[in-house]
């Protein structure tokens, strides 16, 4: 135990004296969060919109007037039928269409309820979401004013249909994706590099000749990065909550437990990589290309998985961050409990155990 502590202390010296490591460890998360938070989620203005107005009454015209006066939309020539909407989506002239049924004002007056349809081009999911939220806001605003004057509460319910990507995955829920990405980089790349560095330096030989157990070498390598990753996780959460105003809906405890599980998976992956190679450069390259790219592309946080060819969809099932992303999104953004994510947790735990066993087996092979 004392041996292990001496080793762990040494690892911390390494981390805190290496500026590059420190930069990756603490600079990267901050930059990523700021970048994704501010650069990639800016407001969208002048969204092309077409209106199919079957009512032509006070209500529909008032709504169109309000849309026209907002700076978010550019109201194009009205369309006359459904097929025309499709065509104009295809030419890219409009990104959004608003359909009023006939007798809108009449319905509203009689039953206090009316429905309008919003259609968006969700091949660009972010913009589609934003357009929908703008229209919803405009309708809500109008509704409020109506309620103010009328005795019966009126309700206009937008029926939203998002074309080309009905589920709306890949919206602004980037925080869970960034967290997964950061853990992948920090845990996998830094751990593998720190083990391989000892091989390059020749100190690994000395360690293997010492009575220090090989298993303990792995533990001592993993523990500091586990601790640092948890610190990192806290930084990201604080930034998300206070700077980006993301609300953590679910249990914080569950969030931490799941994150630690994912960190362990990444660490094991880093150890497996470090057993495959003897050079720091190769280790870095494998971690970056082999782990980071799939995390960015195949977890569904930047590009919706549903739109990908089946082969990539199939490939995404072996990527740990895919499951972590689902879990974090569910717990953090939707506020769901463990009963909703146990399947993903189980898969992640299975991966962690498998990778740990592989790294241990491999480590012994290098001894013989």
């Amino acid at each position: 135990m004392k041996q292990l502590l001496a080793f762990i202390r040494k690892e911390f010296y390494h981390v805190f004296r290496d500026k590059r490591t420190l930069l990756i460890l603490f600079g990267l998360p901050v930059v990523q969060i700021l970048l994704f938070g501010f650069a990639l989620s800016s407001e969208v203005k002048n969204i092309g919109i077409a209106v199919l107005d079957n009512s032509h009454d006070v209500t529909s015209e008032e709504i169109v007037r309000r849309i026209k006066t907002s700076s978010y939309f550019l109201v194009k020539d009205p369309v006359l039928n459904y097929a025309e909407i499709e065509n104009r989506f295809k030419t890219g002239e409009i990104k959004c269409a608003l359909l009023f049924p006939s007798h809108l004002a009449e319905d509203l007056g009689r039953s206090g309820k009316a429905q309008v349809q919003v259609i968006t081009d969700a091949s660009d999911p972010n913009n589609a979401t934003i357009a929908v939220s703008y229209i919803t806001a405009i309708l809500a605003n109008y509704q409020q004013q109506l309620n103010h004057t009328a005795s019966i509460p009126y309700q206009i319910i937008p029926q939203v249909r998002q074309l080309y990507n009905e589920e709306q995955n890949g919206s602004l829920n980037f925080i869970p994706g960034v967290i997964a990405l950061i853990f992948m980089i920090v845990c996998t790349a830094l751990t593998s590099v720190s083990v391989v560095r000892e091989k390059e330096l020749g100190t690994m030989e000395i360690l293997l000749v010492s009575p220090f157990k090989p298993l303990m070498v792995l533990v001592a390598k993993a523990v500091p990065y586990l601790a640092l990753s948890i610190v990192n996780f806290i930084i990201i959460l604080v930034l998300s909550v206070f700077l980006l105003k993301v609300e953590i809906r679910g249990s914080l405890l569950l969030l931490f437990a799941e994150s630690i599980l994912f960190i362990i998976t990444c660490l094991s992956l880093g150890l497996v990589i470090s057993n495959q190679t003897n050079s720091q450069k190769t280790a870095m390259l494998i971690s970056m290309m082999g782990m980071m790219l799939p995390t960015m592309l195949l977890t569904g946080f930047m590009f919706p998985l549903e739109n990908m060819p089946w082969i990539f969809q199939a490939l995404s099932h072996v990527i740990p961050s895919r499951y972590y992303y689902i879990i974090i999104k569910a717990v953090m953004l939707k506020g769901l409990g463990f009963s909703y994510v146990w399947k993903e947790t189980l898969i992640l735990a299975g991966m962690a155990v498998f990778l740990l066993i592989v790294s241990l087996k491999r480590f012994k092979v290098t001894l013989a």
Binding site: G202, T203, I206, L207, V209, S210, P211, A368
Partner: protein
């Protein structure tokens, strides 16, 4: 194995390591006395490193027997590891740790207590004249000092045997001489020294040397006797005559 083995620091009997068809180490037999400085010579690729790895418990032999510090290399690798020190040709201290932190780390790995580490490192740094540099990063030290420090760290836990794998590579003659003074001091303290080298002047410093050719020990005696046996007055000549027998390279 009989009891006479217990008195020897290292015993090898028909020790063999085979990789496929290739016999890296081929039936080597020798022993090393306690407190002896034993030179382990051979051209590159002769099998020195493989043999040394077996003796350090890093690799299992294919056949044959060997004991190190009285422990069997097959079954008691852990006990062997606790009783040996090791210094490799690659420089093996951490450059971005201070001199004292390196000592602290290796002392810790070998299970020394903090007061022990403190006391021994003080004595060691004073002997090396490095007391003022204790808080300096090892990376800032000149190579000769690093090597001397690495050796002192390798014997910090007072092992019975220390294995040195080409410890003086790339070091100037004066520093090499000082390095050998350290080796003599260790031997005088009762530590057995098992050293590989390519420098023949260093071979002369050893009490006995063995020369490996193609995985076999072709000669084993004191440097004086070997020179007589090969009818020459230089160790260089002895080594060359033996190395020319090599069929593989």
């Amino acid at each position: 194995m009989d009891n006479t083995f217990k008195d020897k620091a290292i015993v090898c009997k028909s020790l063999t390591k085979q990789f496929g068809d290739f016999k890296a180490v081929d039936q080597i037999t020798f022993d090393v006395e306690q407190g002896e400085i034993f030179g382990f010579l051979g051209a590159n690729g002769a099998g020195k490193t493989t043999a040394m790895r077996i003796l350090c418990g890093l690799s299992h032999p294919t056949s044959g027997e060997a004991t190190v510090a009285g422990y069997n290399v097959y079954k008691e690798a852990e006990k062997i590891k606790a009783n040996i020190g090791y210094m490799s040709q690659k420089f093996s201290l951490y450059e971005n740790l201070t001199v004292y932190e390196n000592i602290e780390f290796y002392g810790g790995v070998y299970g020394l207590s903090r007061p022990e580490i403190k006391q021994r490192s003080e004595a060691m740094l004073n002997r090396l004249g490095l007391a003022a540099e204790a808080k300096k990063m090892v990376g800032e030290l000149p190579l000769g000092w690093k090597q001397k420090l690495a050796f002192s760290v390798a014997v910090l836990h007072r092992p019975k045997i220390v294995f040195l794998d080409e410890p003086t590579g790339g070091v100037d003659p004066i520093t090499r001489r000082q390095f050998w003074d350290l080796i003599y001091e260790a031997a005088a303290d009762g530590i057995t020294v098992f050293v590989t080298t390519h420098y023949m002047d260093e071979a002369e410093y050893c009490k006995r040397i063995s020369v490996m050719v193609d995985g076999r020990v072709e000669a084993l005696d004191s440097p004086g006797n070997l020179k007589k046996q090969f009818n020459t007055d230089s160790m260089d000549e002895v080594f060359l005559q033996l190395a020319r027998r090599a069929k593989r390279s």
